[in-house]
Symmetry: D2
Subunit: 329 residues, 4 copies
């Protein structure tokens, strides 16, 4: 955990990246899960910066898809999808501040087979959808239930996918909007970006007093793009350490790991998500690392990296990053 | 008004397209205007189907841009933009029903120069924006104040634009989301489509008990695409006749005039908005006019019409239409 | 034809918009039709500015689809599609000049049923394609043969579509590229824009000595977007009057009618086609009509019009226009 | 080089992946370089399968940008950009076959500073362009000349970028089209994808007798997206081993390394490039590795990887890949 001591969270956070009091949000204490990111509900928890919070997350289907003979289109009831824990009110957070959230651990829970992925109508990257609307026929529905433990996900007799868990959906509340938990946006939300995994710190804008942090939708594995629309969904205990940064604002989510810094764009078409991510990264390099914007632009042309998060949600996500070792103008 | 007697509103509406009680929403009775389309506020008015409601709408800037020397970026305060009247609760409306809203009249109000259009940073179709993010410089800000009356908008000494008013933003509440009034979507919202003008009927999905109708953002004129992002914004008295249809659901806004029927798609990229609109129109032709879907697809290839609403909002809008005279499979 | 006397063609053309010598390109004199827009073939005809040329165009399938039981996927042989007449070498044309082409008439020819439209695999706006690649099933193939005369296209017993013919594909040769006749681009090509009809003048860039004008692919009618990918294709005798403009360059096709001027963008996504068209129109208004660019931008926001050409070809097309009556800064 | 013995090239190629005769294409023997991918020029070289060819490639500017005070907009002359070596005629290659090209080595050549990157008008991912047309001002032009050797590119006193060379532009001729070397497409071309590097095999469609292989535009380093439009361009000696596969067709470029197989899509918007790549990969997994298409779709959702090539050329590129270790249905 040593790099963390030099992270932005540790350098700028009120708690200096130190762990404070610990909390648990269980299914029982959460009670009703939430399906929008918004300010119109009471916090489930109020904490000081430094708090370490473990949350019992549901899978994206709230555990309703139990068998490979289930039909998702009959079971699922839009907009009551992608249940979220929270919101967590962070004492002292004001509009313009930034929440720093260190992802300490993600542990699968629940009876086996815990994992679920499905093909469902009007959803996915290579089929007609609500937006990319077509009149050709849909694929048949399909459900796949999967055994998951910390060694991996057993896909079939021959293939075991490594357990590379991350948080599919995490973010803060908008100021007055309430946005479906199916959508990623400037406040985070359903980014479905594998880099939001254990050991990373995500920085999220505070849009309203207390910040109101939500999370859910953990994935045991996911390919770039989340192609069919549904990763390996599973219930977890996810543990976060939450810090609060004053005097440093982010417009869109930013992420830090031991090796790189990343900005996360959410838009459509996909090139706009990439543009948003890269521009924010350039501005960040200019504001905090001493680059001229145009120099950052030219340098990223030679060494920037882009990760495709999802290409299936109401907005698509791209993370643009640069290695810390290149951050020397 | 005779075509109205044969409109879908008249044939399917509970009030049979007949005008009922009349109401006024004044600035005073409205009190606080709203900046999101959502279910988290109390109705300003409750009416029965057939109600005729006149609303004092603000311009999109809530009247704050008063002079050509004003700087929009200093005055405007996101997300408190595009103030909306309402919501209007329609008795008897349940999820799955449809509101039919006939636009009876739009009359400009307020002291001259009543009209406003602006160039502002990060907004518009031919400049870098939040989504189409770039690092090249912005255009300078600019404000243009305009004299408007029912004869037209005086653009300059040589050009007078005809007064062709329409409602830029109208729609129903989502079920649990609260969406910025700057965005168009499946429930209507900021469509910025000139066809939503006097004499048309718009059909909107009811997502929640009462429907919760909002409106605002009337334009005195607008080109296709609302290119710089800001039409000729002006305050008005806008009068609607509201009916309620049971047993006929719409997934996205639909529109009817004397001559054509139209479906309105909102998405990005622009081709997805067109796809959404055309697919809905095909399904409508199949469900209500006796076409096979594939025949409707082939016929629209030869006689469909597309109107670009906006190409500047968080989602773009396209209306796809067919003349009523071709609706005979 | 009186407006023509004041057209750009008449004011700037070497032949002053006057008709000169007449020529015919028959099927026999054309011999081999062409499937690319390029400089690697010999001209079929060499003319002076003012020439009036009548060409026997084939339909887009070169007449190979003869019956409603034909299967397009078995008959058609990419890239040998959309046969073009020409090229026509215009004496005196040099890189940087502009060809002005007045469309005098389009007359259907050939045995009935002369008209053809089809559904074919991997082509169309609401089905998976080569580019918008999906794995869901295709629609079934379908062929529709249609009786066409100058009174209209008989769609079925109840619907007759008006005869509104236009040239689907017309343009000049690139300098060193040879581009499939299925694609629209900066030189014209497969624009599929109904405004390119009888009575209009289209202005095309000269990229190489002689200009090398091609044409083909006439449509008896077409809806906006050419939704299923195939308009009402038919063979014609199409008559053009060709003039040559020195000292006035166009970067993308421009069009003039009695009432408006239009710039035609070709790109993907569709918003880029609209941006390209609108920007060129702004630059045109600034260069030739005395507007400041930013004033043109603001004025088009209020009165610009956009026509969707196709949303199915390798590039999509949009025409942005303004009424001549507004061209007074 | 052992994995190569089990590569598709070795298993299916006529030369069984064995090196044959060696050839050199020097600047002198190349003579005129080419700016389009097309069939309208004579081969510079004719070889049998197995041939090892070393080519002296130019940088994308043909060495014309020599100093940091040069102005690219004054020096460069569209369409004479991105000079290509070739074409190489491969004996026995017929339409429907596949060329397998193993990239043996890329060695920088020429006087220092050999490397060039620039900012130029209307080009790049975060500025207005010909397609994403805007009216806001351009960035200033800028040229950066760079010292490159096999240890890296010296960016400035503090940053040295590793030497990770790859071929920016490589492909076969279309059948009748001649496409600018600035564009990637189904035949390869200007893909600007870093995976096309030393040690990889790229598979390209043969569209015409002899295949007609072109190459050029080698990059010393490049970030994902080639953000400003210009990687670290440099002249090289690039050595390829060329094999010919009968009875195995590719529709778009495919790539193989020791660890993964990849399909490369080129389209706009960017999601269409991703769709094209992923669909081709699914079809490949189904045809050659025993997967059901829908199973491949679900598996790639969990473990597919996407590499962004360029987001600046006339078409954007994405490579979709899967690890060979997962290719066991």
């Amino acid at each position: 955990m040593s790099w963390l001591e030099n992270s932005i969270m540790s350098r700028k956070g009120l708690a200096k990246g130190q762990a404070g009091e610990t909390y648990a949000i269980t299914e029982a204490s959460q009670g009703k899960y939430h399906y929008v990111y918004g300010p119109y509900v009471d916090p489930v928890l109020t904490v000081d910066p430094g708090a370490v919070v473990s949350a019992e997350t549901h899978d994206a289907f709230e555990g309703q898809i139990k068998s490979e003979t289930d039909k998702p289109s009959e079971i699922l009831n839009f907009p009551y999808l992608n249940p979220q824990n929270g919101p967590i009110f962070v004492n002292g957070a004001e509009k313009g501040d930034t929440l720093a959230v260190y992802i300490k651990s993600i542990v699968p829970r629940g009876p086996q087979p815990r994992g679920t992925t499905v093909i469902m109508p009007e959803f996915g990257g290579l089929v007609p959808t609500h937006d990319t609307a077509m009149i050709s026929p849909a694929l048949p529905e399909r459900v796949k239930k999967l055994h998951i433990d910390e060694n991996g996900t057993k896909w079939n007799d021959k293939i075991t996918l490594p357990y590379e868990p991350f948080i599919g959906t995490i973010g803060t509340s908008p100021e007055i909007e309430a946005i479906t938990a199916l959508q990623p946006d400037y406040f985070g939300g359903n980014m479905d970006l594998p880099d939001v995994g254990v050991g990373a710190v995500i920085y999220l804008p505070v849009n309203i007093k207390g910040g109101l942090l939500y999370l859910g939708d953990c994935h045991a594995a996911q390919g770039d793009g989340e192609l069919c629309g549904v990763a390996i969904e599973h219930p977890t205990v996810t543990t976060l350490q939450i810090d609060l940064i004053k005097g440093w604002s982010v417009k869109i989510p930013r992420l830090e790991t031991k090796d790189f810094i990343m900005s996360i764009g959410a838009s459509r078409p996909l090139e706009d998500a990439a543009r948003m991510a890269y521009r924010d990264l350039i501005r960040w390099m200019a504001a905090d690392y001493g680059f001229e914007e145009i120099d950052a632009y030219m340098l990223l042309t030679q060494c920037g990296r882009v990760r495709l998060g999802n290409m299936v949600d109401p907005k698509y996500t791209m993370g643009a990053s640069i290695k810390k070792s290149f951050l020397t103008p």
